[in-house]
Amino acid sequence: MIQFAGIALILIGIYGLMTTKHMIKLIIALNVMELGANIFIISIGFVAHGLAPIYTADLPNQAFSFVDPLPQAMVLTAIVIGFGVSALGLVVAQNIYKKHGTYDLSEIGGEE
């Protein structure tokens, strides 16, 4: 189910990107999309009855398996990159707002 949620979040994010012209909402849609991508990536490494990939003192003695740690490592990176991009996007949007007084791209029009 979580995989579907991931894909759905990506698509909902894209829907937001296609429909809104409000800069903050565009960034929010972008965040939703990234969140969906992260969830989807994690779900790729999921193993039924898998354990979190950490060796601890109380691991079961019988055969067990970890979930795939590599997608988790990737998502870790992706989250941080997403934060960086969001922050940059917000600061750009904020500066546009300072200049034009609105967050709506359609009201600003082409900045020639």
Binding site: I14, M18, T20, L105
Partner: protein, 606 residues
């Protein structure tokens, strides 16, 4: 020898540039000396046919036809350089002019000696862009631009043909590569059509002629003769290559034959015929002498194309000879106009008149040139047109023969117009004080005049070379014997023709001298309805020169609007693309991306 010439050309370009930076006049003299040296150098190559030289990635070989063409070009360039010292102050970038002039000279000569296809194309394009940058130093940017675009249409088609040839045949040598298409007619047709296109655009054959009047009309006056007499002849060489070296008649062997000419070649010839008629008719209409001569170049390009495409004993020889005749005649005519323009500052016929009183030598130069251009007997132009006409009527190509005849008659109309409007008639008061052209200019012009005359008297000097070209190609050579030029339909002895005309001329001259002199009347020395005329231009000789014809031109179709509409269409498409795909909105781009993603996922799901 070849290597020396190449190195000399490269060094001289730099030399001329640096010299012109210092003092433009010196650079102008340098171009004169360099082109003379080039002329001498290339003329010495006559004996070394077959010699090959590789310079870097360029490969050259000496061929008879190449020698013939480059001699023509060098003559034209050389005579034009006599005018250079007097025009340097009219140019914005004289140094660039001199360097580019020599660069285009090098490009054209390289083209004629090219051994492989890449060299051919490189030299071709070098000549094109360098001459384009010269044309822009004249009166019009638009003209230079149109010149480049039309040339680009041709050169891109040729590039396509060349690359396809190299790819298919695996060799770049012109002769070896083109033989490949003997075996594949379908591809051969494509290559032939694409390859000859640059020749057509360069010669100004009918739908591609738009650049000629513009570029010739507004190029610097010293460069118009080179454009018309020289660079346009590069197109003739391409036509030669695509019919004689490219086995066109064999490739189209299984096509429908019309009087022994395959349909595609016949179609091209028809285009040539259309150019003759169209160029002639438009030339009659022009007011600017240079534009008029440009349209006459369109018509003469038609003759040359038809002649070369015939690839037979007579018309082919005529076509090749007409290259020379027209080059010499049109260069002389343009130079005469340049001389007039130098003194008066205009080439508009309606503003000139009576120049014969002030510039008699220039008048003679122009007279001889137009006689040759119109193909009136004692001059060179007659011989070549006669040969072409012979060839056409021998094959029974009635339509083309009619067109050729029409062009000849029409040319009387248009060459006479500048003659009477510029040189004859009454001298405008403001030109009372002008002088004959500078002696140095006269030398250049008279050289060409002498050549025109000589070609008329003893055409066999040239026809001997042409006969050798024909022998090398394996077709029946034109028959020459002493001063007699013979074809299957008859023969002509130009020396006797000249003698007859010479006697006639002498007779008229004696009559002219003996009979009482006519009284000179000033332009304003007249009245009508007892009123003095205050608008002299209405009484001008050149004003409404062909008034009876002018109504014919009212609804004359022009090709230029078609190209303008095409350009506009391209811009509209660009605008369309901009609104749809380059719209400054993230939503739309994301929308397109989603659409493509859907396309692929749905496509992949089937």
């Amino acid at each position: 020898m070849m290597t020396m010439i190449i190195l000399f050309m490269i060094a001289s370009i730099l030399f001329a540039y640096v010299l012109s930076l210092k003092e433009p006049k010196w650079g102008a003299y340098a171009t004169l000396i360099v082109s003379l040296a080039g002329l001498v150098g290339v003329s010495l190559l006559r004996g070394s046919v077959g010699e090959t030289v590789s310079f870097y990635y360029l490969h050259f070989t000496v061929t008879t036809i190449g020698w013939y063409f480059s001699m023509i070009l060098l003559t034209v360039y050389f005579t034009a350089t006599f005018f250079h010292p007097f025009w340097m102050d009219q140019l914005i970038y004289p140094a660039a002019y001199n360097a580019l002039f020599l660069l285009s000279l090098a490009g054209t000569v390289g083209l004629f000696f090219a051994q492989d296809l890449m060299t051919l194309f490189i030299c071709w394009e070098t000549a094109v862009w360098s001459s384009m940058l010269i044309v822009q130093q004249g009166k019009s940017r638009q003209a230079a631009w149109v010149y480049f675009v039309m040339s680009a249409i041709g050169s891109m088609a040729t590039l396509f043909a060349i690359l396809l040839t190299i790819f298919m045949s695996g060799t770049t040598m012109i002769t070896d590569a083109f033989i490949y298409f003997m075996g594949s007619p379908a591809l051969g047709g494509l290559v032939f059509g694409a390859f000859i296109l640059s020749g057509l655009t360069k010669m100004g054959i009918f739908p591609f002629h738009v650049w000629l009047p513009l570029a010739h009309g507004s190029a610097p006056h010293t460069f118009s003769p080179v454009l018309s007499g020289g660079l346009v002849k590069m197109g003739a060489y391409i036509a030669y290559l695509s019919v004689a070296v490219f086995p066109a008649y064999q490739v189209f062997g299984d096509q429908l034959m019309l009087q022994g000419v395959p349909l595609p070649i016949y179609a091209l010839m028809l285009l040539g015929g259309v150019s003759i008629v169209y160029g002639t008719l438009r030339a009659i209409q022009q007011d600017d002498a240079k534009r008029l001569l440009a349209y006459s170049s369109v018509a003469n390009g038609g003759y040359i194309l038809i002649g070369i495409l015939m690839l037979d004993q007579m018309a082919f020889a005529g076509g090749l000879m007409h290259v020379l005749n027209h080059a010499v005649a049109s260069a002389a005519a343009f130079l005469a106009m340049a001389a007039v323009a130098k003194r008066t500052g205009t080439t508009k016929m309606s503003e000139l008149g009576g120049m014969i009183h002030r510039m008699p030598v220039t008048y003679v130069v122009y007279l001889i040139a137009i006689i040759s251009m119109a193909g009136i007997p004692p001059m060179g132009g007659f011989v070549s047109k006669w040969l072409i006409f012979q060839g056409l009527s021998h094959r029974g190509l009635i339509f083309l023969a009619t067109a050729a005849a029409f062009g000849s008659i029409g040319s009387y109309l248009y060459v006479f117009r500048p003659l009477s409007a510029v040189f004859l008639g009454q001298l405008a008061p403001k030109y009372e004080k002008i002088k004959e052209a500078d002696p140095l200019m006269l030398i250049g012009m008279l050289l060409l005049t002498a050549m025109s005359l000589l070609l008329g008297i003893v055409p066999n000097v040239v026809l001997r070379t042409i006969a050798q070209i024909q022998i090398e190609l394996g077709i029946d050579p034109i028959m020459i014997k002493g001063t007699i030029t013979a074809t299957q339909n008859g023969s002509v002895n130009m020396l006797s023709v000249f003698t007859v005309f010479g006697f006639g001329f002498l007779l008229i001259l004696i009559l002219f001298l003996v009979l009482p002199k006519s009284r000179r009347v000033g332009l304003m020395d007249t009245y009508t309805s007892a009123e003095f005329i205050h608008t002299p231009e209405l009484l001008h000789y050149g004003h409404h020169f062909y008034a009876p014809f002018e109504r014919l031109y009212e609804k004359w179709p022009s090709v230029l609007p078609l190209y303008q509409r095409l350009s506009l269409k391209l811009k509209e498409m660009g605008e369309w693309a901009e609104t749809f795909f380059f719209h400054a909105e993230p939503n739309r781009a994301v929308f397109w991306m989603v659409l493509l993603v859907i396309l692929i996922t749905v496509g992949g799901a089937r």
